[in-house]
């Protein structure tokens, strides 16, 4: 059989694994298996890609894949449960950077060889670098904000919109210039200009990623990461157009589209964090809020912005309108917290100062353990 045909079939198989993996991931009973299915799809795609080349620079591939695997494994194993969202953000940024580098290396090869290039290839290389760059730096900012390296509060400055507009116009100008060149035909001086345009685009994309996320509060970062995840899918998809590879196009656009939808869903139902609680025992805020007056004691552990009554009461609060759990309407509310410091959104929480609220300062985990042991005695 024709090996190219077999490889094409393998790529289709990998895509099917991704589709079913995603489907299974969106249901609690099958989620973990779904992740495994999707990982098998990835393995198939990688093996197929390597089998496509008769001669391979193995040393480079093994070194690169080895270093990446070790770093990825360590990061995933060592990260604390509570730091997982920002770690996902960081991984996502690396995916965007990888797409940028793929686009750049493809360009460099064509540029150095002064290959014949089509408008289509130039456009897709440009988009790969642009989207990949925005994803990378935007994800780094999201990571920094969630990890507390960068201030969580929105960073705003004068002329922000005008500055962003200038960058966008500059990127568009660079794009028009870059995409309309035909590498095989332009003279040498202009060839350098084309390279400058692409590197300039990469730098402007990095700036754009930072500028468009820095003004968003830390509380919204999970949604931002979700949106950037969608972008990294689109970047991979654009890279697929560059190298004419279907599995990249399919998986990239699957992630791109589902990421956009998920971002939308998350905006509507924001800030439900993970906990070590059986899935069946979790309740949605809209289900529990109407019954809140009948609750004797509400205990808040490790939550802040999601129980901030300002979302209902203060129109000027940045949290205004966000769905929150109305623990302040219970008869007594006990908040376990280290200090009165504000949460990710950087806003004070009036809940802490209400008459029916008691604060129990200290590490929430040891406070709970202590309470439980006192009950037992």
């Amino acid at each position: 059989m024709n090996p190219d045909l077999v490889r094409g079939m393998c790529y289709i198989a990998a895509s099917i694994f991704f589709v079913f993996g995603l489907k299974m991931l969106s249901s609690p009973a099958t989620a973990r298996k779904g992740n495994m299915v999707s990982a098998i799809g990835m393995l198939i795609a990688i093996v197929t890609a390597l089998s496509a080349m008769a001669e391979i620079k193995w040393a480079w591939i093994i070194a690169g894949a080895g270093v990446g695997s070790v770093i990825g494994t360590l990061a995933a194993r060592l990260v604390k449960m509570t730091s997982m969202p920002q770690m996902v953000g960081l991984f996502n940024g690396f995916g965007g950077l990888a797409s940028l580098l793929v686009g750049w290396s493809e360009f460099h090869g064509k540029w150095a060889g002064a290959d014949e290039t089509q408008l289509f290839t130039m456009v897709t290389m440009f988009l790969t670098v642009l989207i990949g760059g925005v994803t990378f730096s935007g994800s780094l900012v999201a990571f920094g904000k969630l990890a507390g390296v960068i201030a969580g509060r929105p960073i705003l400055y004068k002329g922000q919109n005008a500055f962003n507009a200038i960058i966008l116009i500059a990127i568009a100008a660079a794009g028009v210039f870059f995409c309309t060149q035909e590498l095989g035909q332009v003279e040498e001086a202009r060839l350098i200009g084309v390279y400058v345009a692409l590197v300039g685009t990469a730098l402007m994309a990095l700036a754009l990623g930072v500028l468009s996320t820095i003004g968003i509060g830390g509380a919204d970062m999970p949604v931002v990461i979700c949106l950037l995840n969608s972008y990294s899918g689109l970047a991979a998809c654009a890279a697929g157009f560059v190298i004419n590879n279907n599995v990249l196009i399919v998986s990239g656009s699957l992630v791109g589209a589902s990421g956009l939808i998920l971002t939308n869903i998350m905006c509507k139902a924001m800030n439900r964090s993970l906990a070590n609680v059986p899935y069946e025992q979790l309740v949605e805020p809209q289900d529990v809020n109407p019954r809140m007056e009948m609750v004797d004691v509400a205990i808040v552990i490790g939550a802040n912005d999601v129980v901030n009554p300002a979302a209902r009461e203060d129109e000027n609060s940045p949290l205004w309108g966000m769905p929150v759990i109305d623990v302040d309407r219970s008869r007594t509310c006990i908040v376990l917290k280290r200090s009165l410091n504000p949460g990710f959104a950087g806003v004070d929480n009036p809940l802490f100062f209400k008459d029916n609220t008691r604060m129990l300062f200290g590490d929430a985990k040891s406070s709970v353990t202590q309470l439980v042991s006192e009950f037992k005695h």
Partner: protein, 104 residues
């Protein structure tokens, strides 16, 4: 490689169908699974590893291309391996009960 005018619409065709499929697939996801799903699909976006491997492995390309592409392999591999493992750790928490899940 030269793309003819029949291939380009075909690639777009695949792109559009996959986008529509992506929208349909996750329409009804419960909020508890938002973060794991985001993380799991993030691992899939590491598929750019395929492009990186193809570019890094080519024997005929010059060193600059190989270096850039190998860097891409490193970062894409972090995305893929880390992405799948961290998603698995998250989902393990839901199983809970019997065996102890997380440390949080």
């Amino acid at each position: 490689m030269e793309l003819d005018s029949a291939t380009i619409p075909l690639l777009f065709f695949i792109f559009v169908l996959a986008m529509l499929l992506g929208v349909e697939l996750i329409r009804k996801v419960p909020s508890q699974l938002h973060t794991p799903l985001m993380s799991g699909s993030n691992a899939i976006s590491g598929i750019t590893i395929v492009g990186a491997l193809i570019a890094a492995g080519r024997t005929e390309s010059e060193t600059a291309v190989t270096v850039l592409a190998t860097l891409a392999v490193v970062f894409a591999m972090i995305n893929v391996v880390g992405g799948y493992l961290v998603t698995d750790r998250m989902l393990k928490m839901f199983k809970g009960r019997g065996k102890q899940g997380g440390k949080s």
